[in-house]
Amino acid sequence: MKLVYFAWVRERLGKPEEDICIPGEVKTVSQLLEWLKGQGEEYAYAFENIDVIEAAINQEHVTHDASLEDAHEIAFFPPMTGG
């Protein structure tokens, strides 16, 4: 699974993207965030407050209850500040 990160999420993780094998029981965005938190210090730091993390699946903004089925690119980032 391709994961991509932006803004301070990217900075805290120290990388803009990675390919990662996700266990089969991780089926939603929120389950993925919980699982990622356990993958090391930098993940614990980046995802310490899951409520402020926004997600996109296949470049479409989704809520945390979205299913990972059919996902080939998952993005995590802080609230957007465009305009």
């Binding site: 932006f6 993005a75 500040t81 305009g83």
Partner: protein
């Protein structure tokens, strides 16, 4: 409906973009341009660095435009959003709406800006005048509130 969306590093020219949008459209009665600029905040900032999600940024903007054309009868829309390092005083974003009447053009432009603020994958970081890289700009609760207001109003095919 004529629609042009661009996510780019380069500056834009508002007059040129307006000219493109209006050409051969004799029934445009109202045209609005909104330009969002990098403020110096009284000299505190030298620039804003704008990070974006390539690919998704353009998709997200097009889906905001689709929402707008469902609600208002527009003749043309242009949205240009820049990324990269943008110096104080320089332009960040351009929204142009053209319609028969002013109400549609005003409401659509305002809606587009409210949605761009919170629904398009761009992130701003401050660069300070003393040369330091500052903080990521936090999302404003008022921007989320502006969005909520639109969601609470029933859309009409044409107002």
């Amino acid at each position: 409906m004529v629609c042009r969306v661009s996510v780019q590093k380069e500056p834009f020219n508002t007059a040129d973009e307006t000219g493109i949008l209006m050409s051969d459209q004799p029934d445009i009665g109202a045209i609005i341009t909104f330009t969002g600029k990098c403020r110096s905040e009284g000299g505190r900032l030298s620039a804003l660095e704008i990070e974006h999600y390539p690919g998704m940024a353009e998709k997200a903007i097009r889906s905001i435009v689709a929402k707008v054309t469902e609600r208002w009868e527009l003749i043309g829309v242009t949205i240009i959003h820049r990324f990269g390092l943008i110096a104080a005083g320089d332009d960040i974003v351009l929204v142009i709406t053209a319609a028969k009447h002013r109400k549609e053009a005003f409401e659509a432009a305002s809606f587009l800006m409210d949605y761009l603020k919170t629904q398009a994958p761009f992130w701003k970081r401050e660069h300070l005048s003393d040369g330091q890289v500052g903080e990521w700009v936090s999302a404003k609760t008022s921007d989320q509130g502006a969005l909520q207001q639109w969601e609470n109003i029933q859309p009409f095919a044409s107002c």
